[in-house]
């Protein structure tokens, strides 16, 4: 859709010598031309001569021009704009809290989004499905004794912990990666 519009747009530009916005000009004969602010951070003139020059460039481009960034638009205060841009860099991926999951004997690792699960049973069920294994039921005294595999995780301190000991929220915030250990190896963790 964009390409078609771009082709029309370029044709119009070649004849009209005016800088309009994509998608705004089709229905009326009177074209709406938005003056100089359409070009960001430049001191270009608003007169049509400059617009003609930039339309030359458009004719040569194959891709449609991206939405032009306009000075002071959308009307968001500078403070807020800067603050949000900073957050964008420092925040963890807004769409999830992804951790690697390895399983002993599996050729490659997987990744899951911890935020998707509400509690331990949901997480363990998902792991069982993903790795086609049985993890079994957690008990405080025995860990995951009796099942083939035990889920463990590396916490922020770098220690390997058994999944299920701490409250769910605390687990989610401290879990760096998961490892599904074979029961034979996990025995060492379970009995303390």
């Amino acid at each position: 859709m964009e390409m078609g519009k771009a082709a029309n747009y370029e044709n119009e530009l070649a004849t009209e010598l005016r800088l309009g916005l994509l998608g705004t000009d089709h229905h009326e004969p009177e074209k709406q031309s938005f003056p100089s602010s359409l070009v960001i951070k430049s001191n270009k003139r608003s007169s049509s001569e400059m617009d003609y020059n930039s339309s030359d460039k458009c004719d040569q481009d194959c891709a449609p021009p991206p939405k032009a960034q306009v000075v002071g638009w959308p009307p968001v205060r500078s403070y807020r704009r800067n603050a949000l841009q900073q957050q964008k860099k420092t925040e963890s991926d807004v769409s999830g809290m992804y951790v690697k999951v390895s399983m002993d004997g599996a050729p490659y690792l997987r990744k899951i989004d911890l935020r998707v699960y509400k509690n331990y049973p949901e997480l363990l069920k998902a792991l069982e499905v993903m790795f086609k294994c049985t993890i079994g039921v957690y008990s405080e005294r025995e860990g995951y004794n009796g099942s083939d595999y035990a889920p463990t995780y590396e916490d922020k301190d770098g220690d390997w912990m058994l999944v299920g000991d701490v409250p769910w929220n605390m687990f989610v915030s401290s879990c760096r990666r998961l490892r599904i250990m074979k029961e034979s190896e996990a025995k060492g963790l379970g009995c303390l």
């Binding site: 916005l21 003056p35 007169s47 960034q69 002071g72 009307p75 205060r77 935020r115 605390m170 915030s173």
Partner: protein
């Protein structure tokens, strides 16, 4: 006051004869009351609009009013001068001053434009040594000015700076050091030089009067020890808004010291917490029985939001505009906030989040939805018309909206205002300039037509999307109570602006950018501009000749032009405002006063 009218018919006569807007000196009527009584009565009037009306009644009332006025509000610092204010009002204790045109918030006004507070402070020091409060918006304030302020007014109590520039944290240090009776320090969203957080440590150890402290928008870290001690000893502290550098464990300690807080702005909400500390934080929130307003929540990690739940049911204002929460996270939180009157969020909560608002917050009166990624080309994020519809459906008391969205339809807006006809503030920002109704491809004229026809109490309107002159015909014809209008990338011809200037009897502020309005439109408002506070036009089709003509015909208006760099006749920006102080003397070289 009502009973006085009934008792003395002479007073009624005086009131009627004030209908001519002539200067009070022309009408003199012997007052039945000694001046002190009149002053005492008038001192109970607080609204500055009422006071203005009162001052027009007759000379005695004018005098009684000016002697009894202690608070002054100046919406445009250049509409009047410090000398004029000082002459008229001898007993001012509280000053509110606004400076630059609002579009300066969006970088449309160059640096060093003006609105410097210093000359005002010098006059105040001379005439109002007992000054207690100063509230500034969009003014330029230097560190020297702040130091001067701190040293000149021994009884100074409250400083509020919003969207100001020109100072650094050193200036705040002066305030903290010298203002022994300070009750309020409110620093919001300013363009300042954040040198260091040591200013907070400058409050003396015996300083205990603070009631309001807001330093949320400052980045440099303050000494937590100093902050904790300050909060401990200020027993009347009601409002505390800390900055990002304050972590969750520190927050817990502050809350324990100040459970009486009514308004809290947290710091970063993302830090690692041990389970025990999590419980302690939740308990601390449980103990804040008076908490009504909550803000901050920077980098809010969903994992910790549950600590807020005990405090949520009493919340009336929740400001999540810096917390990038997804819809599922947000939905869980909002379910705990049934008494919300006011909500600010980011569009990361998406339409689903707004549906939750509609379901959970029936008392909601104000909602602001800000864009998390305003310059992102990706149109899959954010909110659409359905979110707004959902809120309007569930929150019938809604009267204030600020809504940034990627798409909108005429039909949706029509339904929204049917659901909520009481809008006083309707600010809709369809982020792609000149975008039509995405379903019908038509202009958004009918949307705003519906708004002005249905919402008879509308005071403030911001329009967006593809708009022809028809929108402005509607506005001019129906928006009888409109005071502020913001227009961008809209209209077809001069006719649009002419309609607004020919209608809208209560219009006070008109700000326009990137519209095809020219001299004919500008000049059609000749008579109107004197009843308005200001007009701003940038990137329109106005020329020097048009502005010169305006300036010539209306000598009581200041017509300030910022020219186009290359083209001498074309005007890039024009700012027109009424003033009793004449042209300003501090205009920088790029501003021409005609």
């Amino acid at each position: 006051m009502n009973q006085l009218w009934k008792m003395d018919p002479n007073i009624k006569k005086t009131k009627n004869s004030a209908d001519s807007a002539n200067y009070p000196e022309a009408i003199q009527s012997p007052s039945q009351f000694p001046d002190e009584v009149l002053e005492k009565v008038l001192s109970m009037l607080h609204s500055h609009k009422d006071r203005s009306s009162v001052s027009l009644v007759c000379k005695d009332w004018y005098n009684a009013e000016r002697w009894s006025r202690t608070k002054i509000f100046i919406g445009n610092c250049y509409s009047v001068s410090p000398e004029i204010v000082a002459r008229r009002f001898p007993r001012i204790k509280s000053v509110t001053l606004k400076g630059k045109p609002r579009f300066s918030d969006f970088n449309l006004v160059p640096q060093n434009w003006g609105a410097n507070i210093h000359d005002w402070l010098v006059m105040f020091a001379k005439v109002y040594p007992l000054l207690e409060e100063l509230r500034l918006k969009r003014m330029t304030v230097s560190d020297e000015s702040l130091e001067f302020l701190a040293m000149s007014f021994p009884g100074f109590k409250a400083l509020s700076l919003l969207s100001c520039d020109g100072f650094s944290t050193d200036g705040l240090k002066s305030i903290a050091t010298h203002c022994k009776k300070l009750t309020e320090l409110d620093i919001q969203e300013n363009g300042i030089d954040d040198v260091s957080g040591s200013w907070l440590s400058a409050f003396p150890d015996n300083f205990t009067s603070l009631e309001i402290l807001n330093f949320a928008s400052l980045n440099s870290e303050v000494s937590f020890d100093a902050l904790e001690r300050l909060v401990s000893r200020c027993k009347s502290l009601k409002v505390l808004k800390v900055n990002k550098g304050t972590g969750l464990d520190q927050l817990q300690r502050l809350l324990v010291r100040a459970p009486q807080l009514m308004e809290l702005g947290t710091g970063s909400f993302q830090q690692e917490l041990m389970f025990r500390h999590c419980m302690e934080l939740e308990n601390a929130f449980r103990n804040c029985k008076n908490l009504q307003i909550l803000a901050g929540l920077w980098d809010a990690s969903y994992v910790y939001l549950h600590v807020l739940y005990p405090a949520c049911s009493s919340l009336t204002f929740l400001n999540l505009s810096y917390a990038t929460l997804r819809s599922d996270e947000f939905t869980k939180l909002i379910a705990h906030c049934p008494n919300l009157r006011c909500l600010w969020v980011l569009d990361t909560v998406e339409d689903k989040g707004l549906e939750a608002v509609g379901s959970c917050c029936p008392l909601l009166e104000e909602i602001r939805v800000f864009p998390a990624h305003p310059f992102d080309q990706d149109i899959n994020h954010g909110v659409t018309e359905s979110g707004f519809l959902a809120v309007s459906h569930g929150c019938r008391k809604l009267h204030y909206v600020l809504y940034f969205c990627q798409q909108m339809t005429n039909a949706a807006v029509a339904t929204i205002v049917q659901n909520c006809p009481d809008f006083t503030h309707f600010r809709l920002c369809i982020m792609n300039p000149g975008q039509p109704d995405y379903l019908t491809d038509e202009p958004m004229d009918e949307a705003f037509g519906a708004v002005v026809k249905t919402c008879t109490k509308l005071q403030r309107l911001a329009v967006s999307g593809l708009l022809t002159d028809l929108t402005f015909e509607y506005i001019g014809k129906y928006a009888k109570n409109l005071e502020t209008l913001s227009v961008a990338f809209a209209g077809r011809s001069d006719w649009g602006m002419q309609c607004v200037l020919g209608g809208c009897p209560k219009l006070r502020k008109l700000e326009i950018r990137d519209c095809p309005f020219g001299n004919a439109a500008l000049l059609s408002g000749l008579k109107k501009y004197e009843s308005m506070r200001s007009l701003w036009m940038s990137a329109c089709n106005v020329t020097m000749n048009g502005c010169r003509l305006l300036a010539k015909e209306m000598p009581r208006l200041n017509v300030e032009v910022m020219k186009d760099e290359e083209d001498d006749s074309h005007v890039d920006k024009v700012y027109v405002y009424r003033s009793v102080a004449g042209p300003r003397r501090d205009a920088p070289p790029f501003v021409l006063t005609l």
